[in-house]
């Protein structure tokens, strides 16, 4: 497919596990703009077909944009013709392949095993089995190892031992593994990734034999206090990329694309890096993506990109994972209504059973948002555990996912982010209202300028700047006094009571200076009671003041709790 030097128009697709989203980007008065977007279920009646899903979404896009993009045979018209039909280039990213199923075998549960499991969460892999060989003494304890032969994962990570440490336990483990996997048919055999004591590379390779595919990477725990997951993560991502190509219809779709189809989390990470640079090179950004079947937390800071992805945890098919990992009471604490556990079960189960449908009542919507908070909370906790050295300063929080973009009120979006992440200090809140960030990340691979211009002009919904206090004082006491000074405007002074969330109007394009005097036991980021001054940017909600304290306390009494949640909703403009 021949292409002009400088593509003027793009189609960008994100093939998710539930929905496929496509957007059309074109130059308008010399600047790249988002022209239209559409979506289509990824799964048809005969199962997933990536190309068919994209064709379905593009057909819808043609109706919306009044522009022909596909020919009569359903093939993409490229490059763009003089009559305006077709586009110059297409790019795509996908998360339609499930995370890689991995078994992690280490020597000890606390060191090598944990390091390798953490590496998995940052590399689109899910540790479905973990086994510490050092703890196994009896045949019964080895049962999980036998399970690898009955239901083989896609990869087995063998880790353990510091470099220059003992070799024998690792070779014994490798021998056992080779024996267990000996009679698996070739197409079912998992790839073995060795990420242990580097001295044991050759003996382990010998013990595994020639029938198993072995990839050797750096030791994830070369010595006490040092964790080195990067090379293991690179190998896992390479395997995920191979798996993505096996999604039905993906090879056919690939022929339309200018560059290889990326994984959606990778594309999203790239878009978030653009977003961070847009503000200030030193900005510390936290991106969160609550999808139908997975939840991701991506940190972008001085140390690079740090991703934690939880497969099977989301707001459609992933509700199964939410219900398995959180109790109904955990979810109910986020609801401004006193619903029975059966009603809550029905809301969530039906949302899971009908993943393409949209909530039609407020109760249904709030139940789904409660599940999103829980998915966020759990994934963020894992991200924090994995980002041991990462400072926890969050300048910019960027949220996306169907539950956020489909939310009819920005106040509810802000509350989901504040409740799920519980940030402290000042943080700007933005979200992907049009569900285009991963597509823009994919566009960035071929046209960085186009990605950057669309992100700046059309891809960001500014919620405002959140000011969150940590610590705890009695509800109703004065938590904060602040003076807002806008250039050329009058100054305003506000007082906020502990336990409240409220917003102070400040338009999206406005900046203001705030002076803060917190309660002696509350902290805005400079220490308890320390006054502060900062520049803040506005948004749909303006300046959001969260004086509920950290960690966030939710009453055990159902009526009190529901009343507080209603107050918080009202505080952000949702009545």
């Amino acid at each position: 497919m021949s292409q002009p030097q400088q593509p003027e128009s793009f189609l960008a697709a994100d093939i998710g596990s539930t929905l496929t989203r496509v957007c059309l980007i074109d130059r308008v008065e010399g600047i790249y703009r988002l022209v239209a977007r559409s979506q289509h279920p990824t799964r048809g009646e005969d199962g997933i077909d990536a190309k068919q899903a994209v064709v379905g979404a593009v057909r819808r896009l043609e109706e919306i944009a009044h522009r022909t993009l596909l020919d009569d045979a359903g093939e993409m018209i490229s490059p763009e013709r003089d009559d305006g039909t077709g586009v110059d280039a297409m790019v795509a990213c996908s998360s339609a392949a499930k995370p890689l199923r991995c078994a992690v075998i280490g020597l000890t549960a606390d060191l090598s095993l944990q390091g390798a499991v953490r590496a998995c969460t940052g590399a689109l892999a899910q540790a479905t089995t973990t086994l510490a060989l050092g703890a196994l003494r009896r045949a019964a304890e080895l049962a999980p190892l036998l399970g690898l032969a009955d239901s083989p994962p896609e990869a087995i990570i063998l880790s353990g031992g510091f470099d220059n440490g003992p070799i024998a336990p690792l070779t014994a483990g490798a021998e056992l593994l080779a024996a267990v996997l000996a009679d698996l048919p070739a197409h079912e055999r998992p790839v073995i990734i060795y990420a242990g004591n580097q001295e044991a590379r050759r003996p382990v390779a010998r013990a595994l034999g020639d029938d198993l595919t072995l990839a050797v990477v750096d030791n994830v725990r070369p010595s006490e206090g040092i964790e080195s997951p990067r090379e293991l993560q690179r190998e896992l991502l390479r395997l995920y990329g191979e798996r993505l190509q096996l999604v039905p219809g993906m090879a056919a779709l690939q022929r339309w694309c200018s560059v290889p189809v990326q994984s959606s989390p990778d594309a999203l990470a790239l878009a978030l890096q653009y977003l961070a640079k847009r503000h200030d090179p030193s900005t510390s950004l936290l991106g969160v993506d609550v999808g139908g079947n997975h939840t991701a937390v991506i940190g972008v800071g001085k140390r690079g990109v740090n991703l934690t992805l939880r497969g099977g945890l989301g707001t459609a098919a992933g509700l199964d994972g939410v219900l398995a990992s959180a109790s109904l009471d955990d979810l109910r604490r986020w609801l401004p209504l006193d619903v029975s556990l059966d009603t809550l079960t029905a809301y969530l189960e039906n949302a899971r059973l009908w993943p393409f449908t949209l909530p039609q009542t407020l109760d249904d919507l709030l139940a789904l948002q409660a599940a999103a908070r829980e998915a966020l909370r759990q994934t963020f906790a894992e991200w924090q555990a994995a980002s041991l050295a990462e400072p926890l300063r969050l300048d910019l929080i960027a949220g996306r996912g169907g539950v956020l973009s489909g939310c009819p009120h920005p106040g509810l979006v802000a509350l989901m982010l504040l409740d799920g992440l519980q940030p402290v200090g000042l943080a700007q809140l933005v979200y992907d209202r049009d569900s285009v960030w991963p597509q823009l990340g994919a566009v960035a691979a071929v046209a960085p300028l186009a990605a950057s211009q669309v992100l700046n002009r059309d891809g960001l919904a500014h919620l405002g700047t959140a000011l969150c206090l940590s610590g705890s004082v009695r509800t109703g006491e004065r938590a904060l006094r602040l003076r807002l000074e806008t250039p050329g405007g009058p100054d305003h002074t506000y007082e906020v009571a502990a336990g409240e969330v409220r917003c102070v109007p400040l338009p999206s394009d406005a900046e203001a200076s705030v002076k803060l005097w917190p309660h002696p036991r509350l902290d805005v980021g400079l220490g308890p009671g320390a006054p502060a001054q900062a520049q803040v940017q506005g948004g749909a909600l303006g300046l959001i003041i969260d004086a509920r304290g950290r960690p966030l306390q939710v009453s055990a009494d159902p009526q009190e709790r529901a009343a507080a949640q209603r107050r918080w909703n009202n505080g952000l403009g949702r009545r």
Binding site: P41, E45, R138, A139, L142, A143, L146, A149, D150, A172, E175, L176, A178, A179, V180, A182, D183, L341, D342, T343, T345, A346, Y347, E349, N350, L353, W354, F356, T357, L358, P359, Q360, T361, L362, D364, L365, G406, C407, P408, H409
Partner: protein, 336 residues
């Protein structure tokens, strides 16, 4: 727009390891079309501990080697200690897969299962991967919620209408082997009794939340609408009513393809699903109208504001009660 109720021709696929039919063959629903071979379990036998040996010393006591087929109670390893001979015997017949670290790995024999066609029709294809595709005519219902494996039996309607509860009193011994149809399932006792009486499966509109929270009920259960819904969509119920007594293949949540009910029967022309237009019958697939049916009364152009304040495309629906509402496309299914 998905379609959960299909009346017409479709292809039913069964996966097996070895097929026993060829394309063009006419098969009945209970015809065995293939064999599924599941590998036998792998078991680990501790040889070192009973013989009182260190793992590295086990080899000198072994009576078998890797690759040997052994029968039940065959001596795997033995050792004479003072005046007693100690031995380790095979707990079952199998193949020695490996001997490592003082353990012997024994693979038990493969388990073969017969795969039935499930529907009456004509074999249209047998793939190299072992999929047998049967083209058939009839009624197929994709369920929303399901549990259990596969069951087959004549359809027996137990409730007066689409909103009747399938109570335990309606599960009786003379229905053994049948698939029971009801509006909704609300009590555990009905399921326990169905299992006790050998009922082949339960096909309902909704299932109560406390029952849906558990799985592994021991028989196939399919709910066409979802959880907490006290009825089955009337068109679905009528379609089943018309086929009372016909054999239905019911597959629960654990089966490939998800919860489904398939009934083979001749289909007259014109039973195809209708097009998306004003007057078309639709089923609503999200609360608070989950499982309700209505007709499209208008197709408004462009984005519409929903009751929650969001913007989406959809249709105006008139319910039989006279109520009119707007529903997003995502929440609608066209009915036949």
């Amino acid at each position: 727009m998905s379609r959960s109720l299909w009346i017409g021709e479709w292809t039913h696929t069964q996966s097996c390891s070895r097929s026993l039919v060829s394309p063009g063959e006419v098969v009945s629903a209970d015809r065995c079309v293939g064999i599924s071979i599941a590998r036998g379990p792998l078991i680990l036998i501790d040889v070192a501990t009973p013989l009182g040996l260190a793992p590295d010393d086990v080899r000198r006591a072994l009576a078998v080697s890797v690759g040997d087929a052994v029968h039940r109670d065959q001596t795997l390893a033995s050792l004479r200690r003072r005046y007693r001979r100690r031995s380790v015997r095979a707990p079952d017949a199998g193949l020695v897969q490996g001997i490592v670290g003082g353990y012997l790995l024994l693979r038990l024999p493969d388990v073969e299962t017969q795969i039935l066609a499930g529907v009456a029709g004509t074999v249209s294809d047998v793939t190299a991967e072992g999929q047998v595709k049967v083209k058939c005519n009839g009624t197929r219902i994709h369920g929303a919620w399901g549990d259990g494996g596969t069951g087959r039996g004549p359809l027996a309607l137990t409730t007066e209408g689409a909103d009747g509860e399938l109570t335990w009193q309606k599960v009786s011994r003379h229905l053994t082997g049948c698939v029971l149809v009801g509006g909704w399932l609300g009590e555990e006792r009905a399921i326990l009794r169905a299992r006790q009486f050998g009922i082949a499966g339960l096909l309902v509109g909704g299932i109560a939340a406390p029952l849906a929270r558990h799985t592994g009920w021991g028989l196939p259960i399919v709910a066409t609408e979802g959880v907490g819904v006290p009825h089955m969509a009337p068109t679905f119920y009528r379609a089943l009513q018309q086929r009372a007594g016909c054999v239905v293949q019911l597959q629960g949540g654990c089966a490939e393809g998800g919860p489904m009910a398939s009934i083979s029967h001749a289909v007259s022309q014109g039973a195809e699903n209708s097009a998306l237009e004003v007057g078309a019958g639709v089923r609503l697939t999200r609360g608070p109208y989950l499982g309700y049916e209505g007709r499209i009364s208008a197709l408004p152009e462009g984005l519409q504001r929903t009751a929650l304040g969001g913007l989406t495309e959809g249709a105006q629906i008139a319910l039989p009660s006279g109520q009119r509402l707007f529903a997003p496309w995502e929440n609608l299914e066209v009915l036949p």
